[in-house]
């Protein structure tokens, strides 16, 4: 047998024609990721064995970092369904070069959010009650249904990529399964877009229906408050940008070109366009909130803000600094052609959406509604941070394994020297 001992130990598993770092270097990286995973596992053990009292949550802040984290990653993971929609339904062909990564990120975000929810609900063994005793009037019921269903869709979208691993793909059965799944992918892209639109919306609806909380409450259309539509739009405005940022981060870490700049720029343009649409409605919504919802509730604009921690700078940052500014930058072709400015714009875009999820989760609960009540503040403790870091490490692990062993990036060979390397 012809074995090249200069190649890494697991070289036979690499995607055809791709080079990877040495196995020991890879193991070292996995060890770092593993440490964070262990830290998170310890926190999870504490929560599950002792109770949610080990977190910094309390009766005023039933929602905190974890719900913010869930909403944020689900919005940022929207790159999967939206890119899938554009690639398979609207036939924007160049996106085939980034769709695999978008699907993996989507899967990480959704499965990660579900992992966090296992900790966040007080009785995780009753999680199935959402199906069995469903309250069809609750936005959260719709979220439970759609997130679990969509996670299955993401698995179906992820499986063919796994089966295309060089060694697995040699098996005729697996090869044909992968091929046939690819053929049916437009169907799953469609189902994914449908499910994802509704649960992104319902996550927003969760806040918009809180008529006892004027900070979050919104009027709307039929049964859907405006936040329903705003969450869908903001997710598709940030998801593609997040996918670009992750691709770039992977490029920096691996020292390779993985996605051509034109594709990234196209994703940025899409994100910028959706951000513009989102911001138009978001500004209208903010106006209606200030001039209609607030006075109707006997409150004025100032009463929604408190000190530095819940100050107006958050609204300014969300709408201007991380809203209008990245929108302008992403839509300007000259700024998009400058990598530093382009990545900064993508980062600001994602930050703005995270701020939106944060204020709707935390500031909603911090703001007193009874006039004799008081503002309360919330700061997550290490247990909440550790569990969140666990999901990030889990994402890093999945991305690392996928990058090393799966043909994630169709352009990789061409962008890094052209010739398929003989092993």
């Amino acid at each position: 047998m012809n074995v090249n001992y200069n190649l890494p130990l697991d070289a036979e598993l690499f995607p055809e024609g791709c080079e990877r770092c040495s196995f020991s270097q890879f193991l070292l990286w996995l060890a770092v990721v593993g440490l964070v995973l262990l830290w998170g596992l310890y926190a999870a053990f504490l929560v599950l064995s002792t109770g949610l009292g080990v977190t910094a949550l309390d009766d005023y802040f039933g929602f905190g970092l974890w719900i913010t984290f869930d909403l944020a990653v689900i919005a940022l993971g929207a790159g999967a369904f939206f890119t899938g929609l554009l690639r398979y339904i609207l036939n924007i062909d160049p996106l085939k070069n980034i769709i695999n990564l978008a699907v993996i990120i989507g899967f990480i975000c959704y499965s990660g959010a579900m992992l966090i929810l296992v900790l966040d609900i007080g009785q995780p063994l009753r999680a199935w009650f959402g199906y069995w005793h469903a309250n069809v009037h609750s936005m959260l019921t719709e979220v439970i249904f759609c997130i679990t269903c969509y996670c299955i869709v993401l698995i179906i979208e992820y499986v063919p990529l796994i089966l295309e691993q060089k060694q697995l793909n040699k098996n005729p059965l697996l090869h044909h399964i992968a091929h046939n799944l690819h053929v049916t992918m437009p169907l799953f892209a469609g189902i994914g877009a449908f499910l994802s639109t509704f649960h992104q919306g319902s996550l927003g609806g969760m806040y918009g229906v809180l008529f006892g909380r004027p900070y979050a409450f919104r009027d709307g259309f039929f049964i859907w408050p405006w936040t329903f539509f705003l969450f869908v739009l903001s997710a598709v405005a940030s998801g593609p940008a997040f996918t670009v940022l992750i691709a770039t981060l992977m490029e920096k870490m691996t020292g390779k070109k993985l996605v051509s700049y034109e594709i990234k720029s196209l994703m940025g343009k899409i994100a910028g366009t959706m951000l513009l649409v989102y911001l138009v409605f978001k500004f209208l919504d903010t106006g209606a909130w200030i001039w209609s919802i607030a006075p109707r509730s006997g409150l004025d604009f100032d009463s929604f803000f408190h000190g530095w921690i819940y100050g107006k700078w958050l609204l300014f940052s969300e709408l201007i600094l991380c809203g209008l500014l990245p929108c302008f930058m992403l839509l300007s072709s000259s700024m998009r052609s400058n990598p530093a400015l382009f990545y900064l714009a993508a980062l600001l875009d994602c930050t703005g959406i995270v701020i939106n999820r944060y204020v709707l989760t935390v500031q909603t609960l911090a703001a007193p509604v009874m006039p004799f009540d008081r503002w309360v503040t919330y700061s997550p403790n290490w247990v909440e941070w550790a569990a969140s870091a666990f999901v990030l490490a889990y994402g890093a692990l999945l991305l690392s394994l996928s990058y090393r062993y799966l043909p994630v990036f169709p352009q990789e060979i061409r962008l890094n020297g052209g010739q398929a390397k003989k092993l």
């Binding site: 609900i121 007080g122 009650f129 005793h133 409150l299 509604v369």
Partner: protein
């Protein structure tokens, strides 16, 4: 399921803030009656189990015009509940037999969405397993289930007492409902036959409990057409079953949010003709 319907019987309260001294007997009685476990570290007041909390209201004027008022806040048993509509698993609902908003502990998954929805902060989460100091478990109320960690709980208007009062009538061979005016049915339970533990414990009789729809009940007379009556956060439309009474305008104004140029709403405008 949780739509605001005009039920035959609507249990409610009238709490006279002019009579409340803030002694806290209602809170203690509630804790003892409803098997609320003592919290190991009660320094964090946002983690302490109190189905009923006494708030301190101030007119924020300097001496000698400074005034304080104490406001006991049980669950407001809303007709239009912010909480029950959002619960994903129907672990809380408004019962048509009396309009009390229930909490079904074995059903609750502990997502705390209801807590986020309630503007009155009337809902509490079991952050840890309940532990009673040795011997104290012998004083638990047998009719009230204790709750495990990870579920939400709240004031039930001492619902077990309602059940017991109905059982007493049934055992005697009677019907739990009697015909009232205009085709309405009233509960056959005498006015003092079902009283919540807080109302029972109040030394000043500040808390009056009864059927808001029964003209024979004191709470009916206290709440209808009373210029001193108000409800908390009336303009949110929660249609609560707990009324407060105060002769002081600043207290009534603190019952809801008002813009600077708005007048405190008069009860005749805010109280519906029929409850």
């Amino acid at each position: 399921m949780s739509a605001n319907k005009d039920f035959n019987v609507r249990w409610g309260m009238a709490i006279d803030l002019d009579k409340c001294t803030g002694c806290g007997a209602c809170m203690v009685a509630c804790q003892a009656e409803n098997n609320l476990a003592p919290v190991a570290d009660a320094s964090n007041k946002l983690r302490v189990m109190n189905w009923l909390v006494v708030f301190e209201l101030s007119n924020k004027k300097p001496f000698p015009d400074h005034e304080l008022v104490y406001l006991p806040r049980p669950c407001q048993q809303c007709g239009e509940q912010p909480c029950a509509t959002v619960c994903p698993v129907i672990a809380t609902e408004r019962n048509e037999d009396g309009g009390i908003v229930s909490q079904i502990y074995p059903r609750c998954i502990g997502c705390r969405y209801c807590m986020a929805a309630c503007p009155y902060h009337a809902r509490y989460f079991n952050w840890f397993d309940p532990i009673w100091p040795k011997g104290m478990e012998k004083a638990l109320t047998p009719d009230v289930s204790v709750r495990p960690r990870g579920v939400v709980e709240k004031c039930s208007f001492c619902h077990h007492r309602y059940m017991a009062a109905k059982d007493k009538i049934r055992v005697g061979g009677g019907s739990v409902y009697v015909p009232g005016e205009k085709g309405r049915k009233h509960s056959a339970i005498p006015e003092d036959g079902y009283v919540t533990s807080c109302a029972e414990a109040c030394p000043n009789g500040a808390i009056v409990f009864g059927d808001l729809n029964n003209p024979a009940h004191k709470v009916y007379r206290l709440t209808r057409g009373n210029a001193h009556a108000f409800r908390l956060l009336e303009r949110l439309g929660t249609d609560t079953a707990v009324y407060y009474l105060s002769s002081r305008e600043w207290v009534r104004r603190l019952g809801d949010n008002y813009l600077q140029d708005e007048e405190t709403q008069k009860p005749k405008r805010i109280l519906p003709n029929k409850h």
